[in-house]
Each structure stands twice: as C-alpha cells, then as structure tokens.
C-alpha cells in the first residue's frame, strides 16, 4: 500500500470516518494526522473498537454481584466459583468475515475468543457457538453452514478444547449476513488473573506468537460497515488462522504466566498491534513507544501502516518486568514461537511509533480511547407486535409434531456437533444435545453449566421482551441441569445503528437484558456488539445472543433431558397459557410469523426455576427439560427420543390441544421422576405455590402416545428429527 502525499476527503471516507470525526482528529492532534495516524484513528474509532453507538446504552446493564471478580472492560469477564477457582468467559462475533470466507472466518473467530480468555491466565475448557444462517433454500446457505462448521471444528479440535454446544438457526433475514458468535470458557485461579494495564515506565513491551503479515488489514473497519454486492471482493481482508500456532501460544503463555514476569498482557485481536498497544497504555495510564523494525514480519517491505493495522492471528503483546526478557524468551523459543522486544512503556501518555529511523505516529493515547466519539444516536422504539393469532383447529397434533421435530430449527444438530471434538479433556459430563452443557472443573466434583440462547423472531416482534426472553432462557437452561446461574456475556448483533428504528431495537434490547439480568441476579460481565449486520439495506433480525455460565455444586447431582426409567411420572412445572404468537408451530405448520412474542414473567421464572433446581440439588429429580422452541410436546418428544423411552400423556378437560401442546409461554419445565417422588414433589409445589400438573408417565412401549390425538413410534420421530440435517447437506447443490 503506497502512502499518499496528502490526506484527501476521499481517503478519510475510505477509512470509515465522517467529516466531523476527521475535524475532531485534527483538533485533538493540533495538526493533520500522518497516514499511519489516520489508519490508527480509523480502527480505534470504528464501531467495532469504540462502541460509539452503544456505549451510552450499555451503561444500563447490571455488571456487579459479590461473585463477579471482573466485569466488562477487560479481555473477558471473571467470576468466582469457590475454592480459589475462577471462571473466565466471553462471547464474540465474527460475522462479516465468516460470510465472506466461512472456514477462515469461523476458525479465526474461535481463535480470537480463545486468546481473549487465555490472555487473562485461564486455560480454555469449553467452547460454544451461536450460529444464524439464511433460509435453507438460499443458494449460499449450505456452503456457509458446511464452511462455518468445518472452520469451528478445524480450529477448536486442534486446540484440544471441547466444543460442547451452541445454537443453529435459519432465517431469511440472515441470507446476506450470517452470524457466527463464539464463546469460550476458561478456568484460572482467582489469585493468578492477568490484566491488560501497562503500568509503569521503562518496562519492555514484547511481541509474542506468529509473524505479522498483510492479512486482515482494516478488518475492524470492515466489521463496522454494511455489506453490498461487492462483499466478496473483501476476501483479502479476512484473516487466516493457524490453530497449531495458537496451541503453542496457549501453552507458552500459560508457562510464562506461571512465573511472575508479566505486568500486563493482551491479545492482538481486531486492529492488532494498534488496539493492543493503545488499550494497554490507556488502561495503565502510561505511554508506549514501539519500534516496528523489531516486529517479526512474514512478508517483505511491509509499511508501518500495514504493520499497525494487520490482523494477523495468533499474536500477543505483553509488558514484562524489566530484566525478565531472557526468561520469557526461553519459554517462547522452546515452543518455537517468535519473541521480540518491540518497545518500552513511557510516562508520556503518548503512543509513539517508529519505523526505519522515523517517527511515523505520535499521538495522545486518550485521543484513541476516551476521546473516541460516543453518539447518542436518535432512536424510535417500535410498537411491539400484538395478539394471539388464529390457527386451524382441525390439524392433527401428531402430524404437526413430526413436522416440527424434523424442521430446520428444531431438528437434531448431531450433524453439526459430531464434527466438533466434545470429549477431549475428559471432563465433558453433559454433552451437546441437552439444555446446557456441563464441563467438570478438572480434578473436582464441581461443574460449569454453559449455554447460549436467543430467539430472534421474538426480538423482531418485540425487541424488549425478546431480549428479556434470551436472558431468561439462558438462566432456565442452566437451572434445568441443576446449576446455579452466575453471569452472562452478551453478543449484541443488530443492523445499522444510524437508522433510528435499528437504534431503537438496540436500546430496547439493552433494556430487556438489563431488566432480566437484574431480576435473575445474573450480571453481564462482558460482551461484544456487532452492528451494521445489513446487506443492501436489509437488516438481520435483532439477535442479542446471551452466553450464560452457572455452577453445579456436584456433578453427580445433575439432571439431563433423557427419560431414564419406565413408569416415571411426568410433571409440568409452570403455567400453560397456550401462547402461539411467534411460535415455531405457527411458522412451520401455518406458515405465518405473527402475533406477540411470549411475555416473560421474571418473578414466575425465578420462582419456578429455584424450585426445580432445589429438586435436582436435593437428589429428588434427575430428568428435566426446559420448554422453549416448539412448546411442550416437542420438549416431551426430545426427552423420549434422548432416552429411547416412550411416554403416555393426556390432560383432562383440555379446551384446545394445539395451543396447549405447541404454545411457547415461558418459565416452564418438564420433569420426570418415580411416582412416589412425584407425590412428594406435588405436595412441595402446592406449599410453594408453584403451578404444576402431572400430565402422564413414561412407558415400556417405544411410542409417544397422546390421549385423544393418537400415538407415534419413537423410531418415526427420530427418523424425522435426525434426518433433516444430513439430508439437507447431502442434497445436490441447486446452483
């Protein structure tokens, strides 16, 4: 990239900066910026790095609890899980790159979020991912699904970190803009957590990991703009991942962290060397002086601009205690990684970059961080969709059930998660396919329950209620395995915030998350915003993905969804309301997406959940499934298929079977237990004022039988449920 002699308005525009923003830059600098400085401003002031549209809203999120060690603002959030152990986690998007180049986009998304977690001193112990694709019939969808799943597996499997679950949804609003949100959970000791504040002057700044190349230049800027038909021309800006190097980097970093040589460490993620150095100096209240001549380079004749903006993967920046360089270098050489002292911390509060004997950038750190623009963008809150839509009462329930369990959004995801190594580390005590995955804290009886959730169609109907629902479902899924929900990371995926209606979705989404997190004592300890998810002006459904983590005190007392015994009583906890608005039944069977999203009664959610969790903790119940997408009968079918044990259910005096069996009202669970236990539980439920009903029992016959509606063989249900994904992928490509 040749450096222009003069910065023109055209160049400013190409850097994604507005005229007003450029004027402000000149004011802060007291002069015209150099080309390198302009590049640095453009990434640091991008939506991706500065959160300029969302920051004023994100303040409303609750971030504190006695068990929160580190809330938002570091590479990842940290919670205390007892006995000196800490869980460190975060979720982050890699949407734009994954659409352009699905394998590398998804792979580097996995790599990036793992670095965020191990840069804080944690060994990653589990991965999840929340994926949204366009409609299955869209000509690109199959290719994107295959590429993204391979990319996630290709990176995570090599790292030796189990990928234990996640979500896959299809909707036409993602046709031109898929979502790939990856979550990583790691484990550290509470007294060995590493942060990114580059404190002190004169300390060596070291570069570790891979060499710097020209890949990913301006990735953060790309992630902060809408797509158009030319999106694929941006392929050269997608980074290329090397999980082998990342695995070495992980082991080398953990080895270095076992010494006390590190003052601060941060991964080079979006905007690479620029953001890592600026953020570390900013947090440490110091300055940083870099000499790019010492940066390990993969290509020849790289300019300062390219090196500062490269997003080459598998790199970290650290500040060491003076005199500890040799010790650190020895570790990195052992792991055959690059190691170079590339600068010093200073007390000037400036980021100074030298290259080939010249100062190419000299700028105040605060201009890049706290002086970055923050917008109170105008927004309009949408009137939520209302009403419980009509439906055809004559449709046979059992036929609809088969269609639903074999529909794209409800069918088995086995085809996906069998490509992910979910058993490595030998601590995955609850595998993909349940409500939450559970990984044991190595060498203990504790477990971490992990889930990702959001129901975007609810969020479109009602951005506020839908966001509440995402938090509630995450909380419920963690509860359903018997764990205590502790904290969440949020990944807010929305369209263009410069449009008031999209900004309204964001504002309402934040409010919904805030309210639910507050009511459920489930603070937000980190997250990521991905905006401008639009193609040709068409926005995605609002998708505030919630990654939740909870603590299971004893992995031996854990519930699963699979029926375990014949003759168990099946009990519904929570109130049936027959809410068909925005349900999958309405969409898949009636072909309509309408009505109000289900309301979330947070008090009932908490009451019912606390009741169920106590039953599991006390050893009374080992079979639990939350009721969500598809409603009660789909949940029941999933329990029967998972355990290969039949069930017989019926409810006396039911006015309308369809809304009862397929309604998606919230705060509900199905539990199964021996009849004597069920009597005691009913007694307790009455005393606690929990709405409940015994709706049937598990049976010897391998069928699902519904009074007055008929029965269906489990084998037929399974064929539909397991069949969709492999059949879809195997279909000859339409184009």
């Amino acid at each position: 990239m040749s450096e222009p002699a003069k910065i023109t308005p055209e160049i400013v525009r190409e850097h994604g900066l507005s005229e007003a923003e450029y004027a402000r830059i000149k004011e802060l600098m007291g002069r015209e910026p150099t080309f390198v400085e302009l590049g640095i401003f453009s990434v640091m002031w991008s939506e991706h790095c500065s959160y300029k549209s969302t920051r004023v809203h994100l303040r409303r999120l609750p971030t504190k609890a006695p068990w929160v060690i580190q809330g938002p603002g570091e590479n990842a959030g940290v919670i205390d899980i007892g006995d000196g152990d800490a869980a460190i986690f975060k979720m982050e998007s890699h949407n734009h790159p994954s659409f352009i180049e699905p394998y590398q986009g998804a792979a580097t998304g996995v790599g990036g979020i793992m670095r965020d977690v191990f840069t804080m001193g944690a060994r990653p112990i589990a991965m999840m991912n929340a994926l949204r694709f366009g409609e299955p019939e869209h000509p690109k969808t199959r290719h994107l699904v295959e590429g993204v799943v391979r990319g996630i597996g290709g990176y995570g499997n090599c790292m030796g970190v189990p990928t234990v679950g996640g979500e896959v949804n299809f909707h036409r609003s993602y046709n031109g803009n898929i979502l790939v949100n990856a979550m990583c959970v790691g484990l550290a000791k509470t007294n060995k957590i590493f942060k990114s504040a580059a404190k002190g002057a004169g300390n060596p700044v070291v570069y570790i990991g891979s060499k710097t190349g020209r890949d990913g230049i301006h990735g953060a800027t790309m992630a902060s703009a809408e797509f158009n038909e030319d999106a694929e021309e941006k392929r050269p800006t997608v980074q290329v991942g090397d999980p082998f190097t990342e695995k070495l980097l992980l082991e080398a970093c953990l080895e270095l962290m076992a010494t006390d040589a590190i003052i601060a460490i941060q991964d080079m993620g979006a905007a690479g060397l620029t953001s890592s150095s600026a953020e570390m100096a900013d947090k440490g209240g110091s300055g940083i002086e870099l000499n790019l001549d010492h940066v390990p380079q993969r290509e020849e004749n790289m300019t300062a601009y390219e090196m500062m903006l490269s997003e080459s993967q598998e790199r970290m920046l650290a500040v060491l205690k003076p005199g500890r360089e040799a010790e650190a270098e020895r570790i990195f050489r052992k792991w055959e990684l690059d190691f170079a002292v590339i600068g010093r911390t200073t007390d000037t509060g400036r980021l100074v970059v030298k290259h080939k004997g010249k100062v190419v950038a000299d700028m105040p750190v605060h201009a890049l961080s706290e002086e970055a623009p923050r917008y109170e963008r105008p927004f309009t809150r949408r009137t939520p969709a209302r009403g419980n839509p009509p439906y055809d009462k004559s449709r046979p329930v059992m036929d609809s059930l088969v269609k639903l369990v074999g529909s794209p959004d409800l069918c088995s995801r086995r085809w996906v998660w069998e490509q992910y190594d979910h058993t490595v580390m030998a601590d995955t005590v609850q595998k993909p396919g349940g409500d939450a995955a559970v990984v044991r804290v190595h060498g203990t009886n504790k477990g971490l329950a992990i889930t990702t959730d959001v129901t975007p169609r609810y969020c479109r109907a009602d951005p506020y209620e839908g966001a509440k629902q995402a938090v509630a479902e995450a909380w419920r899924n963690i509860t359903a395995v018997g764990a205590r929900p502790l904290a969440v990371t949020d990944n807010l995926n929305y369209g263009n915030p410069e449009k008031p209606e999209i900004m309204g979705e964001i504002a309402s989404g934040v409010d919904g998350i805030a309210e639910a997190c507050r009511a459920l004592d489930f603070p937000v300890i980190g997250g990521n915003c991905s905006l401008y998810n639009e193609t040709n002006g068409e926005a995605i459904l609002p998708t505030p993905a919630i990654g939740g983590v909870g603590l299971l005190k004893d992995v031996h007392r854990m519930a699963k969804i699979a029926f375990r015994r014949e003759g168990d009583a099946i009990m519904l906890i929570g109130e049936p309301k027959g809410h068909l608005g925005q349900s999958l039944y309405l969409r898949e069977i009636e072909g309509r997406e309408e009505g109000a999203a289900p309301a979330v009664d947070l008090a009932a959610e908490k009451k019912n959940g606390d009741f169920v969790r106590k039953l599991i903790e006390d050893g009374h119940v080992d079979t639990v499934h939350d009721i969500s997408d598809g409603g009660l009968l789909v949940a029941l079918a999933e329990m029967a298929m998972a355990g290969n044990i039949g069930a017989d259910v019926g409810v006396a005096g039911l006015p309308d079977a369809i809304p009862f069996f397929f309604g998606e009202e919230q705060g509900r669970y199905l539990i199964a237990c021996p009849p004597a236990e069920a009597d005691r539980i009913e007694q307790q439920a009455r005393e606690a004022n929990i709405i409940h009903a015994i709706i049937g029992k598990t049976i010897a016959a391998k069928v699902l039988r519904v009074e007055r509606e008929g029965e269906i063989a489990l084998s037929a249900l399974k064929a539909a449920h397991e069949g969709w994904f492999p059949d879809y992928i195997a279909k000859p490509h339409a184009n």
């Binding site: 391979r150 695995k247 070495l248 190594d421 979910h422 490595v424 030998a426 031996h556």
Partner: protein, 223 residues
C-alpha cells in the same frame, strides 16, 4: 510401574492419558518432551497420545515420526517396552514404521466425534487381556483421519496372526477403515495403535468405563 507420555507440539490428549495412567499405577507418568533424546529407562509403558502433533501439517503424524524422541521410542519398542498409540499416536506409529498401514481421511471427509461400539477381537495381548473375546465396548472417537488402510497381503497377515485387536461393531465404522479395523498390534505384540479413545472412557461420569480394563490389564501384565 513407571509410564511415560510423549508430548509433541499440539498433542492435546496428553493430559487425558496422564490422568488414567496415574489412576491405575498410582504414580504420575513422565511427560516426555518431543525434543528430548530419551524416555527414562525404568518405563514399562509409553503412551503416544491423541492430538494434532505439528498441526497435522504435511500428513498426520508424519513430522512427529521424525522427531528426536521417536528414535528412542523405536529403540525401546525393539527391546520390548510396551507402546500404546492412541488416535494421533496411532498415526505417529504407522508413520514411523512401528505399525504397518496408513490412516487416511475419513471416508465422508468429515471430522467425527462420537461414541462408537468396538468389538474386542483378540485377548492374547497385554492391551486386551482383561476383556472377553468378542466383547462389545464403547469408546469415543474424535478424528478426521482414521480410515485405516493396508495392502491386502498385510491385512491378511494382521487378521491371520490375531493382530487385529479392535474392530468397529457392525454398522458403526465411523471412517471407512478396511475390515472395520479400529486397532492393531505389531508382530512382537508389544506395540498397539488404535483410533478410539479408551483413555477417555475410564470415568463412569463420562459414560461406561469401558477403557479402564485396557489400562488395568497393562498394569497387570507389565507392573
């Protein structure tokens, strides 16, 4: 009984193997770095663990087979020390010539991670003595290149000499390997390689502990 686990860059089931070895022997195994020149001489069992040694670059196991430590592993195997290669370890053993044949891309070209039924074909070995002949066990697999192949002559020898120790249960072959072969033995019957992960099937919380008899049997035979 002393054991060792070889650690290559990007081995990733080294810890899983170490946990089981400590459980059955009562002492931690030596974790031997690939660049070292020797495995300690008091070792009776060497495990080459699963993972992506050298990132699977070039060919799975090919670069690890050329590492310095493998010269000593070969020498020790020659002297009769037991060697167990699991998954990537099996690939390293075929690449280094300690076992015949090769492991190719899975027939459906996809990585596969699932529990599979495996039949114990032969119990005349230190690795399988605790099992019953014909017993069906369940181990997880997690690999992209587990499709075992050897020329018909070699296969006939392996089969004829009782050196096919494990076979995928009918209909459960996850990778297309010839004769459903999951694990084989060398001629001297002290080196075994298999694609499934018995070391990850030793804890009842993770499923049936069907892998434990392999390690208990090894302790019995070698300890």
């Amino acid at each position: 009984m002393k054991t060792a686990v070889i650690v290559f860059p990007a081995s990733n089931r080294d810890r899983d193997a170490a946990v089981v070895l400590e459980q059955v022997t009562g002492q931690k195994p030596y974790m031997v770095w690939h660049a070292d020149s020797e495995v300690p001489s008091d070792v009776s069992l060497i495990v080459i663990p699963g993972g992506f040694s050298y990132g699977d670059y070039l060919r799975c196991g090919a670069m690890a087979a050329q590492s310095r430590i493998m010269r000593d592993v070969k020498a020790k195997a020659e002297k009769g020390v037991a060697v167990l290669g699991i998954c990537n370890g099996f690939q390293v053993l075929t690449e280094s010539g300690l076992l015949p044949g090769a492991l190719m891309r899975n027939a459906d070209l996809k990585f596969v991670s699932r529990d599979v039924g495996v039949v114990v074909e032969e119990t005349q070995s230190a690795f399988t003595r605790r099992y019953n002949k014909g017993e069906r066990v369940v181990y997880p697999v997690a690999h992209g290149e587990g499709n075992y192949y050897a020329d018909p002559e070699t296969i006939a020898r392996l089969e004829g000499e009782g050196r096919v120790l494990f076979r995928y249960a009918p209909g459960e072959n996850p990778n297309g390997s010839v004769n459903d072969i999951a694990g084989i033995l060398n001629e001297k019957r002290n080196v075994m390689g298999l694609m499934p992960h018995p070391e990850c099937a030793c804890d009842p919380l993770l499923g049936a502990p069907d892998g434990l008899p392999m390690f208990q049997g090894l302790v019995e035979a070698l300890g």
